[in-house]
């Protein structure tokens, strides 16, 4: 049941990360094992010394949209609009050529909306009702990035956002593949988006997570273009990879971990490329069950986030040679876990 009744192709992908715009900078970082993280400014936190983060400081929203529009969007929406535009272009999809009703979007979102929420509330706490900015409020919701992408590109098909810990993007990719399989959409944008703010670092510090979960946090967006393989073929699109299966469990129950693992990886255990996403501490118990000559930990190089799965799936797609088998493993300390298998190129 982990596979889909129709082959699902990846025909486009893009990213915004600390490494830069697009997936090439991420792939170069992976190939050269170059860490793109930089020090957290010491004036931000008392105990920030030695801490690294992956803020996408080189990203300028005005490079991708008119400045007036950029000012109306929250940072996550800016990332998502920029990444989605490039992914659609790479897939050769001009939205006018495919009815907007047949294109959908499924995004995982991490802390999207939190920055706007904090700014909105700060206005009230500091100035009362006079400090409330109605412009900020609409973008306090986690679905703002997917919605702003849909508005920007006229995407009128299924539209859904998930927040599910370090597997937010994987949750979205599963839904996107299912919507394609069901025929709810011909094309789905799918992936994840997250942001990293100084206030979040203060929150991590307050929770005592600064040197554990929050260490090496990053931000950005990673978005794939998914479609039925026959749909891609009919419009002459290049198929970069095919998603073969997506398996997930919510928890690895103590004492019954093997049953959970068997559901995650029911068939194949050997892969050419293995991509680790999410919280590495949660993924490590799963690694013992699989074999791969090349294992990548992109979180160590570009930073982890709750929705980094979109970037890492895009990177895995970029690394796979035609015919190669890839595995994307993602997990959160309190669940869930995802195993997504891909085959490089177009077997057809």
């Amino acid at each position: 049941m982990e596979s889909f009744s129709c082959p699902i192709a990846v025909t486009g992908s893009s990213a915004v990360t600390v490494a830069g715009y697009g997936l090439q900078p991420v792939l170069e970082a992976l190939r050269n094992r170059r860490c793109c993280l930089h020090p957290v400014p010491e004036d931000l936190l008392k105990d920030a010394e030695g801490l690294l983060w992956g803020r996408a400081d080189s990203f300028r929203a005005a490079d991708f949209m008119p400045p007036l529009k950029a000012r109306k969007l929250d940072r996550c929406s800016q990332f998502a609009v920029a990444a989605a535009g490039r992914a659609l272009a790479e897939a050769g999809i001009i939205t006018d050529s495919i009815p907007g009703e047949r294109i959908g979007i499924a995004l995982g979102c991490g802390f999207g909306g939190i920055a706007n929420s904090a700014e909105f509330l700060a206005g009230y706490f500091q100035q009362g009702v006079a400090g409330l900015s109605p412009v900020l409020f609409p973008n306090t919701v986690a679905n703002a990035p997917a919605s702003n992408v849909s508005i920007e590109y006229g995407i009128k098909g299924p539209n859904i956002t998930f927040v599910q810990r370090f597997c937010s993007a994987e949750s979205a990719v599963l839904a996107a593949c299912r919507f394609i399989e069901e025929g709810r959409a011909d094309v789905m944008l799918a992936g994840g988006v997250d942001e990293l703010t100084p206030l979040m670092m203060k929150g991590f510090a307050a929770l005592g997570q600064l040197h554990s979960h929050a260490s090496g946090f990053g931000e950005g967006a990673g978005i794939l273009v998914l479609e039925r393989a026959d749909h891609a073929a009919s419009r002459g699109a290049t198929i970069k990879a095919r998603i073969q299966s997506i398996a997930t469990v919510g928890l690895l129950l103590p004492g019954f971990e093997q049953q959970g693992l068997n559901r995650l990886l029911p068939n194949r255990r050997c892969f050419d490329q293995l991509m680790v996403s999410g919280a590495e501490t949660a993924v490590r118990p799963l690694l013992a069950a699989v074999q791969a000559p090349q294992t990548h930990f992109p979180g160590q190089l570009i930073g982890r986030s709750l929705a980094m799965g979109g970037v890492t799936l895009g990177a895995l797609t970029g690394l796979l040679q035609p015919g190669q088998q890839g595995l994307h493993l993602a997990a959160s300390p309190e669940g869930p876990c995802f195993a997504i298998t891909l085959e490089g190129g177009d077997p057809a």
Binding site: S133, K156, I160, R178
Partner: protein, 409 residues
Amino acid sequence: MTVPRIAITGMGIICGAAANIPVFRDAILEGKSGVGPVDLFDVAAFPSQIAVQVKEYDPRAWFTRRQATRLSRTDQFALLAAQEALSMSGLAGCYDPYDIGVCVGGGAAGMFQAEQWLAAELRGETARPAHLRGVLPDKTCTELAQALCLAGYQGSVTTACSSSATAIGWGADLIRCGRQKAMLCGGADSLALLTFAGFNSLKVMDPEPCAPFSLGRQGITLGEGAAFVVLEEEQAARSRGADIIGYLLGYALLGEAHHMTAPEPSGESAARVMTAALSAAGLAPGRVGWVNAHGTGTPANDVVESNAMKQVFGDRVQQVPLISTKPITGHCLGAAGSIEAVATLLALNAKTIPRTLHFRGKDPECDLDYCHDANRPSDCSIALSNSFAFGGNITTLVLGSAALPEEVC
């Protein structure tokens, strides 16, 4: 190939109008609104100072001191409603824990607690970090999975006011496609200063109890709470002897791609999602008896939804009442879709179309039957439940009563 029907075998609720299903049934059928003053936080500065708050709520009546401190108000509501739903379903021990998943629709989640941390931080005071633990909506899902030992799928849908309706539709689909055998689906949300101030700042909060589809309506009345349903494939549920209390026959979701806060004005998108949901259920519009509207009471929403009804039901539209239960429950944001799904099921099983409360006068732009005068008896076994959200994320559920004929779907 026959598509399996998805049965509903349990439901649970807590909201400002009722603390459990039997009381909520009475509230829906007797039109008992929970609207009243808010005392959860200071609302004196706002034009609208009312909501459907869960009153006289003492977490210590349900949770240990540690749980009451650790769990956000939203997570507590979720656990209470989920436990009622699971208890009703008798699901315990019937499936492998890996075969039972959880899908939660979230909204402001633990923002009520987190904003206390922010206020203290801004004042330069020592803030309680525990207030931050539930700030993201996925915490609710994790708490449910761990507390109830559900090891299957875990997912949190965050599409604002349509979150929990979508969570139910998506959860049903996870069963339909064979990934799970049972799902606990619903939503939870609590009042928070963020949303109270936010909707006031947008000037869409009515100072009086919300009056959907009425002349002179000024907007929403917020609410809070949680509602969950237990979904299973029908034959599996029957095989284990479960009581079937309704059906989730289909759903649809889409993005309007129009505006972050304003609905697409022609109603074309709203009509499209209702039509798509019926199509997913394999039903013609003629099978629908009534529609539980999104029905917020904002001037724009109610006209758009009325116009959409005309596009879906055509000449028959005056025979398909469009009602709103939000005057009873308030607009519960992330929990709204699941609360209204439960309200719809209860009314279907009672063969009653609920009345839309707080009528203020007939609006010429809202010219359908809204049951403003009284409940309406109905033998129809199928109803729609609409949930529309910020960002144009709109969802429709197709619900069937326990007495649904076998030939449907």
